[in-house]
C-alpha cells in the first residue's frame, strides 16, 4: 500500500473538495490517519472501498474518542474507522472524522451503507458518545437501556448515585474518599450522606 501522503493526494484528487489532513499515531505504532471533513467522509470511504488500488472492503473497527476542549483548541468527538483490505491483505488505513461535542450538532454521516460491519459499532458509538450517524438504518441504543438519557463514555459524564446502594464494609473507605475529596462523584456523596443520616 502506498505511503499515507500518496493516499491523501489520490483521495483529494478523486473526491473533489475533500479536506484531508494527516494525523500521526504514536511514533512506534506507525498508523497515521486521514482526518476527513464531515461532508466528504462518505465519498472518501466510498472511493477507498471501490478503487482497485485500495479495495478497502473490510471495516474492522469503528469507535469514537471524546476530546475535551483545551485552552488552545475546542473540544470535539472523533469517530475512527480502521479499514483493511481482505482482497489485497493490506491495511490498516485509518479514517478519522470530527464533530463538535454539543449533543445537537454532534452528527457525522454513517458509513453503514458502505460497510455493513459498521452497523452495530456505530450504534455503540451513538449509545456511549451521542454521535448521530446520518443515514444509519436503525440508530438505537444498543448497550444501555432505551430509557437511558445520558452518554456514559463522554469524559464529562458524571455517573449518578447508585440507587441500589446498600451498606457495605467499605463504607469507611468511602468516607475516607469523601473526606479526602477522592473518587466519588458529588451526587453519590450526597446519596451516601443521606444513607448515613438514615442509618443514625
Amino acid at each position: 500500500m502506498e505511503a499515507i501522503e500518496k493516499i491523501k493526494e489520490i483521495a483529494v484528487q478523486a473526491v473533489s473538495g475533500a479536506k484531508i489532513d494527516i494525523v500521526n499515531s504514536t511514533p512506534a505504532a506507525q498508523q497515521p490517519a486521514l482526518l476527513v471533513d464531515r461532508e466528504h467522509i462518505y465519498g472518501v470511504g466510498k472511493f477507498l472501498k471501490e478503487d482497485p488500488r485500495f479495495q478497502m472492503d473490510f471495516c474492522s473497527c469503528v469507535t469514537a474518542v471524546d476530546y475535551l476542549p483545551k485552552a488552545d483548541k475546542p473540544g470535539s468527538i472523533e469517530v475512527v474507522y480502521h479499514l483493511y483490505s481482505v482482497a489485497q491483505k493490506h491495511g490498516p488505513l485509518v479514517l478519522k472524522v470530527r464533530a463538535p461535542r454539543e449533543i445537537d450538532q454532534c452528527r457525522v454521516p454513517s458509513l453503514t451503507p458502505l460497510w455493513r460491519g459498521c452497523e452495530f459499532q456505530e450504534r455503540e458509538a451513538y449509545d456511549l458518545y451521542g454521535v448521530k450517524f446520518d443515514g444509519h438504518p436503525d440508530l438505537r441504543r444498543i448497550l444501555m437501556w432505551d430509557e437511558f438519557t445520558d452518554y456514559p463514555m463522554r469524559k464529562d459524564y458524571v455517573p449518578p448515585a447508585d440507587y441500589e446502594w446498600e451498606p457495605t464494609p467499605h463504607d469507611d473507605t468511602l468516607d475516607r474518599a469523601i473526606s479526602e475529596g477522592g473518587i466519588m462523584p458529588p451526587t453519590a456523596r450526597e446519596e451516601l450522606e443521606k444513607e448515613k443520616a438514615k442509618k443514625k
Binding site: S25, T26, A29, H82, W115, E119, F120
Partner: protein, 388 residues
Amino acid sequence: MIQPLTEEKGYTLTPGSEGLIETQTLEVSIGPQHPSTHGVFRMDCTLDGETVIALKPVMGYLHRNHEQLAERMVWLGSMPYTDRLDYFNSMTNNWAYALAVEKLTGIKVPERADYIRVIMSELTRLLNHTCVIGFMLQDLGAWGTPLLYAFRERERILDLFEAVSGSRMMCNYMRFGGVRVNMTEDDLAVAKDIVTRYPRFLDEFEKLLTSNEVLLMRTQRVGILPKELAINASITGPMARASGVEYDVRKVDNYGVYGRFDFRIPVGDVGDVYDRYYIRVLEMRESIKILQQALRDIPQGPYIAPEVKLRNFKIPPGDGYGRIEAPKGELGFYLVADETGKQPYRYHVRPPSFVNLTTLEDMCLGLKVADVVIILGSIDIVLGEVDR
C-alpha cells in the same frame, strides 16, 4: 445495507383472511433467560407458525462499561479486566491487549515469551473450539454428551493454565513485553502430553458427530452466510472462513512468531452451520500442528523484556490499534494515550462476537425456531465480550 425483513429470502406470510385459515404472527422473545442464548442475550422473534419472519438481537444485559473502567486505571490495571471480556479465552484477550500496548510503545518481546504466548493462545483455541462444538450440539439437543466430552478435554488444558499462570480461567498471564511467569520444563511436558493426546480425542469426537445423519440434516444448508456479505459485515474468524473468506490475522499480520510456523487456513464454500462446525474441527487440527512446532523449538532465554517497568508505566501520546486472531475472530484494542501517558485516554475493545452478531437476522430469516438456536450457537458468542 439492511434488507427489509421478508423480501430477502422471498418469504411471504401464509395467506391471511383471503386464505383458508385466519393466521397471525406470534411475537416470541427468546431470552434473556433461555437455555440456549449462551448467557443473557435476547432475540425478539416474530414467528409465523414455527417460521422466523423477523428477528432483532437485543444485548447489553451484561454491560459494565469495561472501557470506562479501563480509562480510570493505569495501563496495567485493566489487564486482569480483559480476562473477563471473553471469559473462555482469557489468554488471547491478554495477548491482544499486551500486543496493542507493545505496538504503541515499540517494546520488543523476547523470543521465548512469544513462543509461550503462541503455545497458550493455541491451547486456548483448542479448548474454545471444542467447547463451542459441544455447546452447538447441546443446542441441537444431544443430551450433553458431546459437551461433556469437550469439557473433559478442556479440563486438562485448564489444569495446565492453573499450573502456569495460577488461575484456571482468569489467567491474567501476559504482561507488556512478555509473560508474567516462566514456563517450566514440566509445564512444557504437560503441554506436549496434551498435544499428543488431542488428535485421538478429535477422532473420537468426529466419529460421534461428523457423519451423523441427524446432525447433517440439521446443519447443512442452514443459516447460509454468503461470502460478500461476510466481508462487508466485518465477520471474522471461523465464521468468515466457513463462508469462504480467506483471511486469518495470524497469516496477514504475522504477529508474534506465527511467521515461523507451517500451518494452513481451512476454508469452507457453503457457509452454513455445518461448515462452521467442520472448519473449527480443521482449525483445531492446524492448531495442533502449530503447537507441535512451537513446543519443539521453543528457545531458552528471558520471558519478559527487562526494561519494562511494572509501575509508573508510561506511553507516549498518540493512538494505535493492535489486533490478533482470537478463537472467535479478530480481537482488537484501540488505545489512545494523552500527554501524561499514565492512563489510557481512550481504550476501545473490538470484540469479535459482538460484530459477528451483525448478520444474525440475515441468516435466520425464513427458517425455523430450532434453526435460530443452532445458528446462534454456530456464531459462537460470549456475552461478557458482546456487552463488555
